[in-house]
């Protein structure tokens, strides 16, 4: 098992026309392109594209893709709808969150809260709040502490329902 890079990164420009409909322009660039170089190119391309179109350019997204070339087998009965929610406080006094799908029961207390003393949970929390880590809230402010951590269940989407039911 190994994480491998896709051959290219992508620049996805998003447009909106007079009717409110949204369209995209997709440009691939070599994966080895530095992000700073790619973003400079994106800004330049955006200006060039805008001169060609009646639509307005809303923004763009630079994405690098990494793929596990030999993923293992999920644990039987695992469901992504079962979440381990982690809510964090940030240095600017706001909060941010992420969730871990199909969280293991071994990481939970009987109440459904995350057992912050469990080895894996403690390691995750320590790593995320580490001052040297780059993990941040949406504002870019550093994550400084865990606020809440608990299990919850999300409603299944139609695509997640069993196909043999």
């Amino acid at each position: 098992m190994a994480i491998v890079a896709a051959p290219t990164a992508s620049l996805d420009f998003t447009w909106r026309d007079a009717s409110g409909s949204v369209g995209h322009t997709l440009v691939h660039i070599p994966d080895g392109t530095l992000a700073a170089v790619a973003l400079t190119a994106a800004a330049a391309l955006g200006a060039l594209f805008a001169a060609m179109s009646d639509a307005v350019l809303l923004g763009y997204k630079l994405t690098y893709n990494r793929v596990e070339n030999a993923p293992g087998t999920p644990v039987a009965g695992s469901r992504v709808e079962e979440k381990g929610n982690f809510i964090w406080t940030t240095a600017d006094g706001r909060s941010t969150r992420f969730s871990i799908p199909a969280i293991k029961d071994t990481q939970l207390n009987t109440s459904g809260s995350v057992n912050r003393s469990a080895v894996a949970a403690a390691a995750l929390i320590a790593a995320v709040v580490d001052v040297d880590a780059i993990f941040a809230g949406a504002s870019g402010s550093d994550i400084t502490a865990i606020f809440k951590a608990y299990q919850s269940f999300r409603r299944s989407t139609p695509a997640q329902l069993p196909t043999d039911g």
Binding site: I3, P7, T8, S10, W15, R16, D17, A18, S19, S21, V22, G23, H24, T25, V27, H28, P30, D31, A35, A43, A44, L48, F49, A51, M52, S53, D54, A55, V56, L58, G59, Y60, K61, T63, Y64, N65, R66, E68, G72, P74, V75, A76, S78, R79, V80, K83, F98, A102, I103, K104, Q107, V119, A120, A123, L124, A127, A133, F135, A136, G140
Partner: protein
Amino acid sequence: MDDTSSTAAVAVNVPSGSTLEQVDASAVTLASLVLPMTDCVLVKYRISWRFQYEDNALPDSGAGVAQCGAFIFEDDGGVTAGLVTIPSLKDDKLLDTGNGAGVLVDLADSDVSAMITGILDAAASNALGVPFSQLQAAYRQSRV
């Protein structure tokens, strides 16, 4: 990915000024910490930077996004390599006389030539990494 092949993501923010190397390393670290906590397996991850233009009011009129400019590029062997589409291509970027009037892109237009040069200067390629060498064809196409 879970036992039913459904997928879900762990989405984490990082400062936009971070380098790809920093983010990539942090993503690998985070994955190694999350994997012991989940019954799912890791199949992929993405690193993205998003930018939003401040001036993005709806245009008053003009072509719909389905009326695209299709710019087809070829590799250095003359083989078709890939496509770049521009939604809502302006009418004045098309030839207005002769064969292909109203359909073919006017390659003599300064905005058109600047855009093509910009795409090639950006080392654009297709998704497999085959680099674009030059423009092969450009025309208006409805892409619904």
